[in-house]
């Protein structure tokens, strides 16, 4: 087993915190790992990435070869495009859909998301939405790693242990916010895959999940929602028009 992950984002978004969680989980599980990162000049609001590799035999290169990445995990949608060609056939993209616009020529975000939705294997998650719901917009990185976590090789509680370790010195409140963000991200990612596997269009799945009450999102309801809404845009609009967030187990009400 070997897993090669490109972590991507913008300087300051916290990809090194994601790396901390996965590095520690890998060490804890007895895997070999290497994780190369960017410091210095590129961090000042520039595009940043980290190459994270773990497996059960020796990891040679600190850099992931082109065609050997299993996953691009990005806290920013545009940044996916910078690294997509590293993915092996069948590799996954897990990405935030929240644009970080600090450049004048940032692409139009709807068309960017539409392009991403066309990729073969992708999990899309509105990290800003779930981070806010968890209690702090800065926790988007934990939402992203939560969304990616089912594709990793660690138990959820081990990953959460290291989320806790990472934020421990900042106090219990921050720890709880970040753990919640991770759990929301994980649930949202699984729900997204559940909807897509049941043939719901990806952008529709994304909007639907944004309307559900984060506390209630449970992948076991995804099938019911896909059946209730399917590709019917009008039904989706009905859900989106609800005033309050919708509980995840209420699919039948919109069928």
């Amino acid at each position: 087993m070997e897993k090669n992950i490109i972590l991507a984002g913008v300087g300051g978004q916290g990809i090194l915190s994601i790396a901390f969680v996965i590095d520690n989980a890998a060490l804890d599980a007895g895997y070999e790992f290497k994780q190369a990162e960017v410091h210095g000049m590129a961090q000042r609001g520039g595009a940043v990435q980290s190459n994270l590799r773990y497996g059960d035999s020796e990891i040679w290169s600190d850099i992931i070869p082109t065609g050997r990445a299993d996953m691009v995990l990005s806290i920013e949608p545009l940044e996916v495009l910078r690294y997509q060609h590293y993915l092996r056939p069948g590799g996954w993209v897990v990405t935030s859909t929240t644009p970080y616009v600090n450049i004048p020529d940032y692409p139009e975000s709807q068309s960017l998301l539409a392009d991403l939705a066309d990729l073969e294997n992708i999990v899309m998650v509105d990290t800003a939405h779930f981070a806010r719901a968890a209690g702090n917009l800065r926790a988007q990185n934990m939402v992203a790693v939560g969304a990616a976590s089912p594709l990793l090789d660690f138990k959820e509680d081990r990953l959460l242990t290291f989320v806790e370790m990472l934020f421990a010195r900042k106090g219990e409140k921050i720890v709880e916010v970040n753990k919640r963000a991770f759990r929301f991200g994980r649930a949202a990612g699984l729900f997204f895959r559940g909807l897509v596997d049941a043939s719901m269009p990806r952008l529709a799945a994304l909007s639907l999940i944004g309307k559900l009450d984060p506390e209630t999102i449970d992948e076991t309801h995804a099938g019911a929602w896909a059946e209730a809404i399917g590709t019917d845009q009008a039904k989706l609009e009905t859900v989106l028009a609800e005033e309050e967030a919708v509980a995840s187990d209420r699919a039948a009400a919109f069928a």
Partner: protein, 527 residues
């Protein structure tokens, strides 16, 4: 067995602590900064390792050499271009030799992620006639520190550990050992060894040359230099290149491989390989140092050598597994997607609210009645003012070079000769050219952007900020009337432009200090 997650830089620092250093010295510079910071952080509580940033790399090196003279082990760390600054002390320390172990950890930056060149420090080790280790992974970063300190004490030579960005800034689990005790204070009383008057220096230099066969023997016998003879195609890999090679090989490959991680170059092993093969690919993450040595002036008669000099490997830039794969003639791996076309760049930029933005906005306006004015700049966050939207500075060469270059341009008749330099860069390399310019009464204008920290490398302590900076500047003999202090804020813009215009109009040396604390430093301090 204890395993810690460490950057290559951290592993060097921890290895040094466990090898019993009494002092760590350095000046911040990517990708070396974290070595010092790790030692500083880890030994803070015990307080038994001297850890205080130096004003520049030369000072750091001399302090480390002094600690070695006193019999204790010292680690000195810097980036590759920092070694240029320390070169005087460095070259001569090879001639004096050491007492307590002296190890220089130098981090090169192939590909120039955060640097102005990609010089290869292995040449400096070769130049100074000292041994050099080139770790392949984080574990070796740690382990090699023990060997390096022992070798330094046993043979009385400084030893270099050469890192590159990709190992300096990559993490892995590292198994650690028991900490060795520090050396007792034991000053070296061999006066002739340390007093490099020509008569003594000749003796010392001869001794250094006489150590070379032993250094070579150590490299030949080193387990870090491994030779595996298989087929007629040979590969020499240095440092990390070995990983990029292994990444692309099947276990039953047919290459004969010499992997080199300890120098001087093990000539016997190279000969053995060369005599076995008829093709030889040489892979180095840096300059073609080994390649040019093996090739010599005229090449080898029966072996075709390829590498950076023949462009099977690009002549410049960082090595990676893809480049090595291509050089080996192996087909690229299939990928899920083609590279996306035309992705908007996201260049680094000054932070929102950065005082430098206000300083350079004012400078741009103050200069707008000159025809295409050029501003000499220096190395720090403010170099980013070269990029849009400010485009306020037009040179970046070496630490402190802004002032010297502005003075030279003024000598040639260029006006206005403006230099922009940060407070820490000023203490590093700006004081001496400033003194020179003031004493020569050169018509130049120096803008010192004093944000009270070393911003670019992560807000380390600046040596000359605030009143210390002011006293140093006044100490050069500059007229008090032409030493001005402004606060760069949007509100003060017009006033600051006026001050700059006044000083630009003055025929003689003037200094404006633009003083406002780095917002990143304020944020770091508050959390």
């Amino acid at each position: 067995m204890n395993r810690e997650i460490l950057l290559g830089d951290d592993a060097v620092g921890l290895g040094a602590i466990h090898a019993g250093i009494s002092g760590v010295y350095g000046y911040p510079g990517t990708p070396s900064t974290e070595i010092f910071e790790f030692v500083e952080r880890r030994t803070k509580k015990a307080g038994n390792v001297h850890a205080f940033w130096s004003t520049n790399e030369k000072v750091a090196y001399e302090e480390a050499l002094g600690m070695s003279w006193a019999g204790k082990r010292a680690l000195v760390c810097m980036k590759h271009v920092g070694l240029n600054v320390a070169a005087d002390a460095f070259m001569n320390s090879a001639v004096t030799g050491t007492n307590g172990g002296l190890v220089l950890a130098v981090a090169d930056d192939p590909g120039m992620h955060s640097s102005q060149n990609e010089q290869d420090s292995r040449y400096f080790a070769q130049f100074a006639l000292i041994p050099c280790f080139e770790p392949r992974n984080q574990q070796e970063c740690y382990d090699m520190m023990f060997e390096a300190f022992e070798l330094s004490e046993e043979l009385s030579v400084p030893v270099m550990i050469r890192l590159v960005t990709r190992i300096a800034h990559s993490r892995a689990g590292v198994a650690t050992q028991e900490q060795l005790p520090q050396n007792e204070l034991d000053p070296d009383k061999q006066i002739k060894k340390w007093t490099l008057l020509p008569s003594n220096a000749r003796v010392q230099y001869k001794q250094l040359t006489e150590k070379q066969p032993e250094l070579l023997r150590r490299a030949e016998d080193s387990t870090h230099n491994s030779l595996e003879l298989r087929g007629k195609k040979g590969v020499i890999v240095c440092g990390l290149a070995g990983n990029y090679l292994r990444e692309n090989l099947d276990p039953d490959h047919d290459f004969s491989i010499l992997s080199i991680c300890q120098y001087p170059l093990p000539a016997g092993k190279v000969r053995e390989l060369v005599e076995h093969v008829d093709e030889l690919l040489i892979l180095e993450d840096g300059y073609p140092l080994v390649e040019s040595a093996v090739r010599g002036l005229f090449g080898l008669e029966n072996v075709r050598i390829s590498g950076r000099m023949t462009e099977e490997v690009p002549r410049t830039g960082e090595l990676n597994p893809d480049i090595v794969r291509e050089a080996l003639g192996i087909e690229p791996l299939p990928t899920a997607y083609e590279p996306a076309s035309e992705i908007s760049n996201r260049p680094p930029a000054l932070c929102k609210g950065c005082p430098h933005t206000d300083s350079f906005r004012a400078l741009n306006e103050a200069l707008n009645n000159f025809d295409n004015p050029q501003v000499f700049s220096d190395i720090g966050c403010y170099t980013l003012a070269a990029l849009p939207p400010l485009e306020a500075v037009h040179s970046c060469v070496a630490m402190g070079a802004s002032i010297g270059m502005a003075a030279g341009a003024a000598h040639a008749g260029y006006s206005p000769a403006v230099a922009a330099i940060g407070d820490s860069t000023f203490s590093h390399g700006g004081i001496t050219p400033m003194l020179s310019a003031v004493q020569q009464n050169v018509n130049l204008n120096v803008l010192v952007v004093d944000n009270s920290t070393v911003g670019m490398t992560g807000t380390q302590r600046s040596m000359s900020t605030g009143s210390t900076l002011d006293q140093i500047i006044l100490g050069t003999g500059i007229s008090e009337d032409h030493f001005r202090i402004i606060e760069p804020t949007p509100r003060n813009h017009d006033q600051n432009v006026a001050v700059m215009r006044e000083e630009l109009a003055y025929d003689g040396p003037s200094v404006i200090v633009a003083r406002r604390a780095c917002i990143e430093a304020l944020r770091t301090k508050s959390t």
